[in-house]
Symmetry: C2
């Protein structure tokens, strides 16, 4: 069995336990790990390190593709083993350590982490842990359910630990398209012109001398928690589908649309599932992550091809697709995240980007990361990579939440991740605001009309009216701009 997975015999001698492999990681090191949206992550070595750190304190810088599964971030943060973490996370324990200042979190656009490593704007990477389906004869690594930053980590790290995961089907071989952009100057064009373009090789090249340890695992990816559509997410999806229908009627889009990107989560899943009962067809994706809805669209014959950096699905979907992966293999490609999220490719193909906002304001500025302007939730992820370069940049959120004590449409966002320049369409369960070609005052009118929850409409209108009396291109009453946030903090509601 293991011979089938490690085709280079000298590496068989490097098989060790996760605990032994973790010994290569020392205090102060910069550590890379595979893993993107809980898929294809290190499932053993980092957890062994977290365990060791309980007895033998150490601090590392951990750089991943995106979020990890297996509660690894919780274990590492719980053992105080993280001094620095980038570029993304979704873990409640780590989040707490970030927000109390114990862990320095660097919130990257997901396409930029390897840029910064390659450009030596970050310290050099001492060691990387990379999950693989298979090690080829030349030592190269076939990734598992994500590519993330693994290809560049393999190139840039001084040492590499490989976790060969026997639970990953060998049918994953051939799924990946590994292309390294190379450094400056004389960097190459990324010649992708459609989601299905393949430009690289099927495995991650690596100098086999760098591989210091191989660990065998048999652990499934942590499943995505699929929340079934509710009234609000269904309403958001419905507004958005109506909008796409309108765009088709106006001749601005065809029924195959343009390549879709959808952020992770229940709204994205609801929107994509909405295409199932629609007249749209021959859909494609050029996204970061493929979720359950992507496979539903394949099964329904609605989608023809999907490109991403990872597959993150529910337990049921995982079992179903892994059992017969060949059924999907010719319709999917997984790429390094600086390619899946490449500004060059996103702009060239005219991707339609759909991402989730925490809150947005009267003028269409979007906060994707911070609660109350200060507390990190997850990170910007790839939302900016797509929003900035998309054919259409769409942000969705509920109009109000927590028994309507919180309005997600505000006088001013408490933190800006996406400026008004990069936001075309805003959708809440209340309606959709088409901001294309509008000046700030016009944007405010249409957001007031379509997006804000009725219980907050008068107050927001009042703010807007009083702000306009003061004048300005983007009218505000600065001393009141955050009054809704401070009221929530003090009184538990944004209502006056």
């Amino acid at each position: 069995m293991i011979d089938e997975r490690i085709l280079r015999p000298d590496l068989l001698r490097k098989i060790v336990t996760a605990e032994q492999a973790a010994q290569f990681i020392q205090d102060g090191m910069v550590v890379g790990s595979s893993g993107f949206t809980k898929a294809g992550d290190s499932k053993a070595v980092l957890l062994a390190l977290a365990e060791r750190a309980k007895q033998d304190p150490l601090k590392i810088t951990l750089i991943t593709g995106a979020s990890l599964g297996q509660d690894t971030d919780a274990a590492l943060a719980g053992s105080h083993a993280l001094s620095r973490r980038m570029p993304f996370q979704v873990d409640p324990v780590l989040r707490k350590s970030i927000n109390n200042g114990e862990v320095m979190f660097i919130d990257h656009h997901l396409c930029e982490t390897v840029e910064q490593l390659q450009n030596r704007h970050l310290p050099p990477m001492d060691i990387a842990v990379i999950e693989a389906t298979l090690i080829e004869e030349d030592g190269s690594l076939v990734p598992t359910t994500s590519v993330g930053n693994s290809a560049h980590f393999a190139a840039l790290a001084q040492k590499v630990i490989v976790e060969v995961n026997l639970s990953m089907p060998l049918t994953l071989c051939g799924l990946h398209d590994i292309f390294l952009t190379g450094g400056y100057p004389n960097r190459s064009i990324i010649p992708i012109t459609s989601p299905s373009t393949r430009i690289g090789r099927a495995s991650i090249p690596i100098d086999p001398e760098k591989i210091v340890a191989v660990v065998i695992t048999e652990i499934h990816d942590s499943p995505a928690q699929i929340v079934p559509p509710d009234e609000k997410t269904t309403a958001i999806a419905s507004h958005l589908l109506e909008f796409f229908n309108h765009e088709v009627r106006m001749g601005r889009l065809k029924e195959s649309l343009l390549p879709l990107q959808a952020g992770i989560g229940k709204v994205a899943n609801a929107v994509l599932s909405g295409f199932l009962d629609s007249s749209f067809h021959d859909l494609t994706m050029y996204s970061e992550v493929l979720q359950d809805s992507t496979f539903e669209l394949f099964d329904a014959g609605k989608m023809t091809f999907a490109s991403a950096s990872s597959i993150t699905v529910s337990e049921a979907c995982y079992a179903r697709i892994m059992k017969d992966f060949n059924r999907y293999k010719n319709k999917i490609v997984l790429r390094p995240q600086n390619i899946s999220n490449s500004p060059e490719v996103i702009r060239r193909m005219g991707v339609i980007g759909i991402n989730t906002a925490i809150e947005f304001d009267l003028y269409g500025n979007v906060n994707s990361t911070h609660i109350g302007g200060t507390k990190m939730m997850n990170g910007i992820g790839g939302s900016g990579d797509f929003a900035r370069n998309a054919f259409l940049s769409i942000f969705v959120t509920q109009a109000a939440s927590k028994e309507n004590t919180i309005s997600h449409v505000l006088p001013m966002v408490s933190h800006v991740d996406h400026t008004e320049h990069d936001v075309d369409i805003l959708v809440t369960d209340q309606g959709l605001a088409d901001l294309r070609g509008l000046a700030p005052r016009e944007r405010a009118d249409i957001i007031l009309q379509h997006c804000v929850h009725p219980e907050y409409r008068d107050a927001l209108k009042d703010y807007s009216d009083r702000a306009r009396k003061r004048g300005g291109h983007t009218p505000h009453v600065l001393e009141e701009a955050f009054s809704w946030h401070t009221r929530l903090a003090e009184h538990g509601t944004m209502k006056a």
Copy 2:
């Protein structure tokens, strides 16, 4: 003389006065105009329209490359002839009309205006006015000192008025590289791999039937106002040169650096002039605009090639270079602004972007556009196109101004154009903050240490300390975040 400039005989019959040509522009129309940073703009027709509007009121939407010269925006705003204006302006009269809500201004990333037109996210263009050096036999237009959005306007507008400017030397022919990206789907790669790569043709293709009028002018571009370096701009330039020297010593850059982009204005000029007395050599530019300093660097043998969308220089420099343009022609190319500012090309070449901030905050968020959070200054221009995709994204501003009543380093910026994700280096006359790889709290420490004016350091430190006591990834005291701005508005100083 005119025969030499209009090589297609049937167009000679379309020569009319500016007033006659302006008759093609009617109330409610969407009008395009050449012009980028006051170079290569309509110098007669739009002014004639402004004059007519005094008697015969009308309102148009005006879309340009960037700013216009000849006080054209002032004349149009003064005659109340503008209902909508995009994507950039620098005019005091128009600015007032924008800020009082009379003119709806849409502030675009400069690379995106033609995207939005092509994608029909903006209304169709009725007519465009394009300045040309020459009309070729096939009707195609050789631009003058800028390309801006003219190539796409010629393709997208229903009618075109050409202003043939006899004052522009015929040696400009061959300077331009006209490449149209085309619409979705099946859009092409932009195959530029160095500032000197030529990928297009030398003139703007156009269906000659579209040309409804030709106007002959002989008016020079409005000159750039060159402000000589002062103590502050010299200090900023010196900090930046020291930084570049450091990067060379660390092996992260060579003495030829990477292609430079510099925003317009005195700081950019001071920084570029700073290279004259440095060890840097074989410099190149991939920028929006070429200013006096570019030609000084050519003359000094320091720069080998410069790509941009316009040439905007002082009166003296203009006279000098136009007299013998062949001297520079093989070292310069002018491109459409969606190519000069293309995310694809900027990222591929690793451009070093240097742009001016109005203010920045403790965490490195930058405001490039709004005074006091509400009043539009000029617009974001190309700063975001470069900052987001640059190898190094650098923003510069003075630490304090107006007898130090205004600090340009603040607890929180009153408007965000560039988020902390897109800002690597901040420079004031006080010093330089290298923010690469740092978390928000660390960014604050280093900005406090290096950038803030001494008269504001204690107050900013106090804010930062109190914010940290409340916790959070990006600590703030929300109810005080804009107190410096409101104090300035009320008391004429940001000092407590």
